[in-house]
Structure formats: C-alpha cells, structure tokens
C-alpha cells in the first residue's frame, strides 16, 4: 500500500508504550476506524545469519540460542536437529526426551508471557501482573534443571547437558500442579469476564480460508481452525513417542487465540507429566564430528509461535556455509495488516499482540521492494563507494 498524505496516520513505534520491541506500524484512521495499515520491520537486525558463517558448528549453537530470548531452546533444537541430520548422528532417546521436555516447559513460559502482554495491551493489568507472577514458577523450574532462567543452553550437538533426576522430576511435577490450577483460573477469566470478552470476541476474525490464504501459522492459524502443528504433522525428537494433540478453535477471533494458547498450555503440562513418568533410560550424549559432511538440511520444529524452519548448508568444513532461519512471527504479519482494516484504533494493540510477535526473532534480513528510480535501491558499486567514503 502506498502512503496517502491526506490520511490521518497514527504511528505506533518504533518507540511506543504498546511495543516492547521496536517496529514501526502506521495505521491510517478515519476517526477511530482504521482504514489502512503498514508495517516496517528491521530495527533490531543483528546480522546473526552472517555471523553464523564465521563461527564453528558448536559456537553457533550458542549464537542461535540468542536469536530469541523467549524461545531460546527451540532455536537451538532446530539448529542441532539440522546439524545432526547432516552429520548422520543418532541422538540417544533420553536426550531427545529431555529436549522435548524443555521445549514444552518453554512453551508454557512463552504462552503465559503472551497472556500477560496481551492482557496489558487490552488494559487488563491485573491479569498481566498475575500471569507474570505465576510464570515465575515455570522459569524457576527451568532454572532448577539447567541453572538458567532464559537461555537454558540445554542442547549440545548430539545430546543434552542436563539430566532429569528423580528429585528434579518431583519438583517439576509440583510446579506443574500449581501451573495447571492457575491456568484453569486464567481460562475462566478470559472466557467469563464481560469486559475482556467485549474486547476480544469478534475482533480480528479470520476464517479458515483466509488463514490458509495468508499463510498464517502456529496458534494464530489454529485459532482459525487450521489444524497444523509440526509436532503432529512431522514429529521430531520424541513427539511420536509422547504425542500431543492439536488444539484448534473455530472462532478465529482474538478470543479464540486466547483459548487456543491456554489449551496448549494444558496440553504441554500433560505431555511433560507423561515424559517425566516414562522417560527412556540411556546416555545423554553421543559423539558428533568436528567437521560436518557437506550437504544441505532443513529442520522444522514447532516454536511457541508456530513453525520454525532452519536451512543449513555445509561445505564439509568446521563452519557452516549458510544458516537460514525463518521464524514464525514473520509469517503472521500479513494477517495483522489485513485484519486491521475496519477495526477500531483501540483494537490495534491487542490485534498486534494477538499473533505473539517476536521482533528480534524475525529481524534478520531486509529486502526493499521499490521502484528502480527509488534512491533507496543502491547498486553494489554505489554501496561500496558509500562505505569507503563513510569511514574516510
């Protein structure tokens, strides 16, 4: 869409109280009604993919974990899965089960974080404070297992670092009981509170066809009735041994997204209990060569926000040739922009947070699609010249 100078534009971002990370949204409003929307990303581009090419396979593990502060484990898992596939290494089942356990704990932590943020965007600060207080429980569990609250660093190439001892398992069980009880309460709040329903029901409704058309993924798509979940469609780790159910909702509106995410939290709690009770015995690690054989691999995992895809190319050396990451947030932006039109300005923060965006995740490359006459499109020679003169 092109900018129209006659429109009244409300900018949200890059610095705005509604956004916890920088991005720029422009909403064209007629009174309170939104008539157009555009997004500009890339404020937190960090050059991680390029940086990966300069590091060894093991060093990259830690780099990939730092793509996202919320779903750090799932990035490392996707990366290790790809590298192990290239190396042709079979990981011990116990290690895979522990990876799955961490991933599901992470999902609980991510969904509870999202619940708080989304409630805050809707002006429901009490729910925000409560859900973040209770989220500490799952973060404490992660800390007890790994020693870290945010970057657990559980993965190694070829296994995991930490074992689940029976004492730890008992603590996790205890924490899960508390989390389950609290999430039942939150489910009750989001389904019965009149003002909350007033802000979420029939807001940003996306039909199944539209979700398919716009390429929505993750809980955003599942709230529109698209039963798509990598954990079920293409099981990795031990997801075939400890399967999860795909949680869908038919309403397609913001309310549905709340319900789907809380139900997914319950499902995560259930599957963690199952893993703790039937965790396979065996080693935690296996040996992975320092040089990974040449080849290409694609690994897909289900991050809390949707499908996360890694493409890894090796040329047989100690360092990867190319690592391409496609994060779920990037796939869902089009749904926000197309659903925004016709809604009220007051719905925008909730609609934005409804897809659970993670800006630093998706800001890794920018491609400007503009006309040839545009001064923003530079030839390589011009760019190089600019670089030389800038530092002269």
């Amino acid at each position: 869409m092109t900018a129209d100078t006659n429109k009244f534009v409300i900018p949200i971002g890059p610095q705005h109280p509604a956004l916890k990370e920088p991005a720029n949204f422009e909403f064209w409003v007629d009174g309170e009604i939104v008539t157009g929307a555009s997004v500009r990303l890339g404020y937190v581009h960090r050059g991680i993919e390029k940086g990966a090419e300069a590091r060894t396979w093991t060093q990259n593990l830690y780099l990939m974990e730092r793509i996202c502060g919320i779903c750090s484990h799932v990035h490392a898992t996707a990366y290790t899965l790809g590298v192990e596939k290239l190396a042709g290494v079979e990981v011990p089942p116990r290690a895979n089960a522990i990876r799955q356990l961490m991933a599901e704990l992470e999902r609980i932590h991510s969904h509870m974080l999202w619940l708080g943020v989304a409630a805050h965007e809707g002006g429901f600060d009490t729910l925000f404070m409560y859900s973040w207080r209770d989220r500490e429980t799952v973060m404490d569990l992660l800390e007890k297992i790994s020693g870290n609250k945010v970057h657990y660093s559980a993965n190694l190439l070829g296994g995991v670092k930490f074992d689940i001892t029976p004492e730890l398992a008992a603590e996790v069980h205890k924490g899960l009981d508390f989390l389950e009880e609290r999430n039942r309460f939150y489910l009750k709040v989001v389904t019965t509170d009149e003002t909350f329903i007033g802000r979420t029901r029939d807001i940003g409704t996306m039909t199944t066809e539209k979700a398919e058309f716009l390429g929505a993924i993750g809980p955003t798509a599942r709230a529109s009735g698209v039963a798509r979940d990598i954990r079920v469609d293409a099981p990795y780790l031990t997801y075939d041994q400890f399967p999860v159910k795909v949680m869908t909702h038919t309403s397609g509106d913001l309310h549905g997204r709340f319900i789907v995410r809380i139900h997914e939290t319950f499902e995560s709690i259930r599957v963690i209990r199952e893993i703790l009770d039937h965790i396979p015995q065996g080693d935690l690690t296996t040996r992975v060569p320092r040089r990974i054989p040449a080849g290409e691999a694609v690994s897909r995992v289900e991050a809390p926000r949707g499908e996360l895809l890694y493409f890894i190319a090796s040329n047989g050396s100690e360092k990867p040739e190319r690592v391409k990451v496609r994060t779920p947030s990037l796939c869902n932006w089009s749904t926000v922009l197309s659903l925004a039109i016709g809604l009220k300005l007051a719905d925008m923060p909730m609609l934005l947070s409804g897809i659970d965006p993670c800006f630093s995740c998706n800001d890794r490359s920018i491609r400007l699609k503009r006309g040839q006459q545009d001064p923003q499109v530079w030839s390589w020679e011009k760019l190089r010249q600019y670089g030389i003169e800038y530092y002269r």
């Binding site: 009244f8 534009v9 409300i10 900018p11 705005h16 109280p17 509604a18 409003v29 009174g31 309170e32 409630a119 805050h120 965007e121 809707g122 002006g123 429901f124 600060d125 009490t126 729910l127 404070m129 409560y130 207080r133 509170d193 003002t195 909350f196 007033g198 802000r199 009220k344 300005l345 007051a346 719905d347 925008m348 923060p349």
Partner: protein
C-alpha cells in the same frame, strides 16, 4: 463542624489551596497503593506523588511546534484553578464548605467539568496525533458520563429539597444513608466518578498502549504537573461529594477520612477488576445503561415524594 478562619487562609491554606493539594497527593498515593496491592505489586511509597510533582515542576517545559503558546501555558493553570474552586464548595475533611450559596452544587460540578474541558482543549491545541485522538476521546467521554453523573447527584438534592451542598450534607447526616434509599443512584454516581476521573476501565482517553498519554502527550514539566495536581484534587472532591451525599454525610474529620477511604477502596477494586473499555463501549454503556438507570432513580424519587405527600 464549623470553622472560622480568615478568608485568605481559607482560600490559600485550609481547607482550600495547600491542604487540598496535599490531601489530593495523599489520596493519589492511597489509590495507587491500593491498586498495586490488588494487582499483587508493591506499589509506590507515600512520598512518590509529591516527588513526582516536584520533579515535574523542576523540569524543563518543552513547547512543541504548532501550538498556540498562550493556550498551552494558560490551560494547565485554568485546570488547576477550576479544580481548586470546586473544592471551596464541598465539605472537605468534614468541615463546613468554605463558600456556600443556593445552587452551588451546579457550580462545583461545572468547575470539575472545566478541568476535563481544559484537558480536551490542551490535547486539541497541539498537532500531535496521539494528543488529537486523546482529546477527541476525552471530550467524547465527557459527553457520555456527565449527564448520568449529574442526574445521580440530583437524586440526593431532590430528596433534601435543596441544591446547596452543605445543606444536602446535613440532610444526609440526619436521615437514613441515601445509599440504602437510592442504591441505583449511588451505583451510577460511583461509576460516573470513575469515568470523570478517567480511571480504568474508563481510561480510553489516556490508553497508554494506543495513544501514549492521550491529550497530555505533549505536556512535560510544569504544565503536566499542574494537570496532574488538578486530577488529584478532582479525585478528592469527587470522593467527598459522593460520600457526603450517599454515605450519610460528613460531620467531622474522622468521618471524612473513613468514608472517603472506604469509597476509594471500592474504586480501587473496580479499577483492577476489568479490561479497558473501548471509547465506543464506554459511550454505549453510559447512554444505554447509565443514563437510563439515573432516570429511573430520579422518577422513583419524584414518585416517592409526591405519593408521600398525597398519603
């Protein structure tokens, strides 16, 4: 209780002026602390509102491009002056109002509306887009809660047979608490007060996640401090009015503190219990439910009085 002080003291120190501002800050703290505790937070220390105000007063005031300079400086002063003027007519801390005449209820409410009006104007004065949307919402909300709130305060006035705040206060103190006689009126007055103070869930005019600080976005330093003080004074006046009318009058300072704090507790609880209403939902709620309820209460009072005289 009666108090005879020189008029200049009444105006500047007690119960108007300094005392009013100080108690406004304390009530702001009480409100923030209560909301914080309900939300499982620690909340600010009691000195925080004063520290905020002093900090703002000491800060550089930035005049944005595109504003009418005179209005930009005058509006905060008018806002605080209007709120302080309203304070002269209400029985603050249980004493007789500093000034009193027939129909001062209307004047007090009008002065409070001027405060909101100046905030709306202050937002419309700038070219900031957040301020403009905030100003539109502030004024829209003004038009929605004002009539029901006024009607709900007219109930006690009709029951007492006078539109003089001090006499209504005396009447309320001598009779059955009006919260029992006119429960609907009390409900509308309470919610109306929340709308007037732009407290959650009626805080769409200053919804931070949408329009930053609404009409106040471009204000910093002195102007913002004065607007905030005006808001604090409005809070204490609103609490005084509603508790004087509906909670059995305010006869002495102890009664004043207990009743207004009890009311503030209820307000804080209501602030934490809901998600923010959109501006269209606020308007809908007020005109569909609020105004209707207030009118029903008014009809009930009039009928009751007339039937009472017939039988």
């Amino acid at each position: 209780m009666n108090l005879s002080l020189p008029p200049i003291l009444v105006l500047l120190v007690f119960p108007g002026g300094l005392f009013l501002i100080a108690s406004g800050l304390i009530y702001q703290w009480a409100d923030r602390k209560l909301v914080a505790r309900f939300q499982n937070r620690i909340g600010p220390r009691f000195i925080q509102p004063l520290a905020d105000t002093l900090k703002l007063l000491a800060k550089e005031e930035i005049t944005p491009v595109g504003v009418h300079k005179g209005l930009f400086f005058a509006l905060p002063v008018i806002a605080l002056a209007a709120a302080l003027t309203a304070g002269l007519y209400v029985p603050l801390s249980g004493f007789r109002p500093a000034a009193s005449f027939r129909g001062d209820l209307i004047i007090a409410l009008y002065a409070l509306s001027v405060l909101t009006l100046t905030m709306g104007l202050a937002g419309a004065n700038t070219i900031s887009r957040f301020s403009l949307v905030g100003a539109t919402r502030t004024l829209t909300q003004l038009f929605s809660y004002e009539a029901p709130f006024l009607l709900s305060l007219l109930g006690p006035a009709i029951a007492a047979g006078t539109w003089q705040i001090s006499e209504i206060n005396t009447y309320a103190g001598q009779n059955l608490w009006l919260i029992i006689a006119q429960p609907i009126g009390f409900l509308v007055a309470l919610i109306g007060l929340m709308g007037k103070l732009e407290l959650p869930p009626f805080d769409a005019p200053e919804a931070e996640t949408e329009i930053v600080a609404g009409a106040m976005t471009e204000y910093s330093g002195r102007g913002f401090a004065l607007f905030r003080l005006g808001k604090d004074v409005e809070l204490i006046i609103g609490l005084t009015l509603v508790s004087a009318f509906y909670l059995g009058g305010l006869g002495n300072p102890l009664e004043f503190v207990l009743k207004t704090l009890a009311l503030l507790l209820v307000l804080a609880l209501l602030q934490t219990a809901f998600a923010r209403l959109r501006i269209d939902q606020t308007v809908g709620l007020w005109w569909r439910a609020g105004a209707l309820l207030a009118v029903v209460q008014l009809i009930a009072i009039v009928l009751g009085r007339n039937l009472g005289t017939i039988f």
